[in-house]
Symmetry: none
DNA sequence: CTTATTGTGTATAATATTTTTCATTGGCGC
DNA sequence: GCGCCAATGAAAAATATTATACACAATAAG
């Protein structure tokens, strides 16, 4: 991974193809043939594959202007990196008028990258499985989180309550949480949010729940909470930002996406519940008519 | 270049992520981060890049079922070969393996667009002003939100409590909120979260607070809550997603960015508070030492 | 709190890779 | 045909990479 060259190796080879000797052309053809993968092996492998000797490979690398074969391969890897990496986050300044160094832009960069990386490593099957699980109205759903993540847990709880019945929010902070375990039955689901600074209480809770045959869905960070040992479904999300704290944005995103999917899935039941809720809101005059 | 495996290395890593140790996870993250290019270097290079030792890399290769590191890398190269030569594979998909129409990708698109649009509209000066305002320890800060946004308000409150003193969380849902107004003095700040389905209570609360000379900071949607009439600083954020509900992701992002900025701004005071908090946590043994 | 277990990095040995050296081959002009 | 010179590969030397051994640290268990 050295300096980035203006020309690709392929261009370089084509340009100097005239100056290449017989054996070198043979080699050049191999490299271009399945570009750039063919150039990924060791010098010995490449030499053997193209039917030339390893010194020939090294000599060509020199001829093309590299200090040696490893440098040429490094250039090839850099190229590949540039090709593979998708341009989703390649945004120009987000908050207009603010310099790149403004914390708003720095933060935005970090959060977008977190989302991109998190999405990349989510298995869609995992997502679909969890959606199906949480859509099953036969299973009670218990939700809990740590000191910070409890707000996310509550967010999930509040929305899920609209979607379906059988929801319980467990306050892991208090000493009363063992009581909640009593209400858990085999087949129930425990949704745990546990992000860095993994809390003892949550691990114990997961252990106990697991012992009672409860299926555990875990939202944790890229390093993984110890709760994962007991969880059947684990979401590993990126949470790092330039701040003294971790970011919950990706976690919230995942929760919202799940909610949207579950809601779609259980629309028949949900529709009725939402309608009823609306009527209740009307009666309590909680909201403005419109605005 | 060995046999082609049924599962990709990425899948293999994700599958056995639970069984991986701390250092191995660190390494796994690096490999997945810029997959598969990050795994192309030498074992030494990979070890250095992920901050672990080379034996750890070799050990993980074994753990994943390969005879050694070179075999794992060979598998990776094979994968790359297969991927590159298949022009159908799209690299810009967010959740790999999920079609464009999968709700996860649709949701991600919407959320990312929301963030871009919201950031474009934010005046950095507004941001900076609010940071300065909330950094002023002479002013008490009152925080409140609606039915859904209350969790975001609580999130803000929890973190701000670490940063500074003089924080109050107002439960707008109960009937007791007028009591809170009694505690507000001229120069205080009221942070209001009010997203679509603007609630009566919040408007009244803002009116009253405004009457007492309280400065109001409002987080609302692109259409604007009526609270804006009384607010000195208003953040208009995009919140629409393909779901029955609005998204709070952008709002949470804004809150976190603010917290990071304020925390940086008041570091002298905050540092002491965080240290004290750590010691309290130690005493209560709330967290695991590390993991 | 102490002891076992597991995880981790440093140092080192084993192995593979890359480069250099140098003898051989083959083309080309005379 | 003969001699010159670039091209090439075999083999060895230099270098880098990978695997192992072992000691220390962290964690879990008693």
């Amino acid at each position: 991974m050295t300096q980035s060259r203006s020309r690709t190796l392929a261009e370089l080879i084509r340009e100097s193809f005239d100056e290449l000797t017989r054996a070198e052309r043979q080699l050049a053809n191999l490299i271009l043939e399945n570009y750039p993968v063919s150039g990924m092996g060791s010098i010995t492998a490449i030499a053997k594959a193209s039917g030339v000797s390893s010194p020939t490979v090294a000599r060509m690398a020199r001829k093309l202007g590299f200090p040696g074969f490893p440098a040429m391969q490094a250039a090839l890897k850099d190229e590949l990196k540039a090709t593979i990496s998708d341009p989703i986050v390649k945004h120009d300044q987000l908050a207009e008028g603010a310099p790149d160094t403004h914390i708003l832009n720095q933060f935005a960069d970090a959060v977008l990258e977190n989302m991109r990386q998190s999405l990349k490593r989510i298995d869609p099957a995992l997502f679909d499985n969890v959606v199906a699980l949480l859509s099953d109205s036969g299973r009670a759903v218990h939700v809990t989180g740590g000191r910070i993540t409890h707000t996310i847990a509550r967010y999930f709880f509040t929305h899920m309550q609209v979607i379906r019945s059988g929801l319980n929010l467990i306050d892991s902070g208090s000493n009363t949480w063992p009581h909640y375990v009593l209400n858990m039955n085999a087949g129930d689901i425990l949704v745990v949010f546990d992000i860095r600074r993994y809390e003892h209480n949550l691990i114990r809770l997961a252990e106990m729940a697991s012992g009672r045959g409860v299926t555990i869905v875990l939202f944790t960070d890229q390093w993984g909470s110890p709760v994962a040992k007991h969880a059947q479904h684990t979401f590993n999300l990126r949470i790092e930002v330039p701040s003294a704290w971790d970011s919950s944005v990706t976690t919230l995103f995942m929760v919202e996406a799940l909610l949207a999917a579950i809601q779609t899935n259980t629309w028949d039941e949900t529709r009725g519940r939402m309608k009823t809720l609306e009527q209740l809101f009307d009666k309590t005059k909680l909201f403005r008519k419109f605005s």
